[in-house]
Symmetry: C2
Subunit: 294 residues, 2 copies
């Protein structure tokens, strides 16, 4: 893989900015609701945002200095004065309304009205929640850390969640959020967004407290496969132990496998068979047994 | 929308954790490479991660205390001693290898070998880069901020990018990263991931320095449409000015629109026509002109 090497000290800020945004993605979106000392409402989206701790529940987002004129934003001014914010999430249904709220309206313009969104009272803090958002997090701001004084410089706004509201219709019977019902949007580089539902969203299950065998335990004929991808090999490497030879041999009771073993190109056929077991059945233990027949 | 209200002080940490992870998503993944004082290599993935500033280029990730036994991780120990890390991104091709690296192997195990990944030297820092990752960011750690002392508590690891490497094959002719070639993975709640390429990734263009008319400028017949979605209305609200009546009337030279205007249910038909113009042509100015014919 040919790589382009970039020195942040010598590349144009604009180019570095886009290389970072295209690489550090997808980014969750904080649709931040604040209020000023005169009671004026403000909402604006920020994608330099994430959770960083669950106990205590800490969210961090950054309201950056504008690259164009090195000024700061209403969200930051309001938080500096009031130390409160409601962070609302952005799903597909409201993503274009969010885009309207990103327009740099003058301070006295209420973005709720501009974006056609509904302000509803919070329980603990003064800023309003966005009714149309499927998850709303009322926060007290613990600290603001300034990262620089040039255009593009961020401010880490460290928020403690004091109350959370989640739409009942995105919570499943196991008391967990269903990503497909939630239908969140993520921010990518340039003007790109990603919609997080449908077939692009899938689980990858790997126990972390039990010790997987790893790539170095895979037999050479498997590691050197011309059929299996790195992801396929990783599925096999994620097993907690190698199957026994007996368990592998027992598979030959399967007629199609038994006949396949008689073919001259049995190696190729076994690898293809194992790949199907991995990709379609998601059963690395069975796939490993198949490959051990080689 | 019926909401469930959660008080972080009274809900189980485990449940709060999952509500936060399901709401603050999709999260980018930092595949962090570190080295200890004895030269032993470590790689591990973290999704409490984001960019927070481009000038200076600052990335922040958190290595959290384990919820199970309140211990901390090798990545954190190594960074506390060496103040260096390489943050590699995770795309679809290596996501299952990343999952292997998330297994809690003993300190003396090299996760590069376990995950079948290739360690290559960095230019500025001691930790190795992951060759298979399409973007690798060499970082000096500026500061570590502790967020708590209980299980689940995070540490903000504030990293300055001192060198960046991006695969040439993900950079397009405009010198920008193509998200489809990059094919990044994002982290969702529970075991879910999102693949960020294909039709789920699309641009949303909204100028932010020019002032959009906003929802409050939309005529009532449009705002109350039973056909147009909130996203459709937001596309119209994103226009910089209303078209003139003359420009709207000029559309009646289009024969199908002219005949549509003679129908008894012209209002419904016009809204459906406008919706198609928005959804398929992505042309809010034309859609607005159509709706003004009502």
């Amino acid at each position: 893989m040919e790589m382009r090497t970039i020195d942040p000290k010598t590349v144009a800020t604009r180019d570095l900015h886009q290389f970072l945004l295209g690489s550090v993605a997808p980014r969750p979106i904080a649709f931040a609701s604040t209020i000023d000392e005169e009671g004026r409402l403000n909402i604006a989206p920020y994608s330099f945002f994430n959770a960083f701790s669950s106990n205590p529940p800490i969210l961090v987002f950054s309201s950056n200095r504008r690259v164009t004129n090195n000024t700061t934003k209403d969200t930051l001014h309001n938080i500096q004065k009031t130390k409160e914010v409601v962070i609302n999430v952005v799903n597909y249904n409201i993503v274009r309304q969010m885009a309207i709220a990103s327009v740099e309206y003058p301070t006295d313009v209420n973005e709720f009205e501009k974006a056609g969104l509904t302000a509803i009272p919070s329980e603990v803090v003064k800023p309003m929640r966005i009714k149309e958002s499927p998850a709303q997090m009322e926060c007290i701001v613990d600290e603001i850390i300034t990262l620089g004084d040039q255009g593009g410089a961020g401010h880490l706004i460290i928020c403690k969640v004091v109350r959370m509201h989640v739409a009942e219709n995105v919570i499943d019977e196991k008391n967990r959020i269903d990503p497909h019902q939630m239908d969140l949007m993520g921010r990518m580089g340039r003007a790109y967004y990603v919609r997080c539902s449908g077939s692009n969203v899938f689980p990858i299950v790997q126990p972390v407290t039990q010790i997987a065998i790893g790539f170095d335990a895979l037999p050479q004929n498997i590691r050197n496969s011309r059929i299996l991808t790195a992801n396929n090999l990783a599925q096999l490497a994620g097993l907690l132990e190698m199957p026994t030879k007996e368990a592998s041999q027992a598979l030959t009771q399967n007629e199609s496998l038994a006949s396949l073993l008689k073919m001259p190109d049995r190696s190729l056929l076994l690898h293809n068979y194992a790949k199907q077991v991995l990709d379609l059945e998601g059963d690395p233990e069975k796939a490993m047994k198949v490959l051990m027949l080689e």
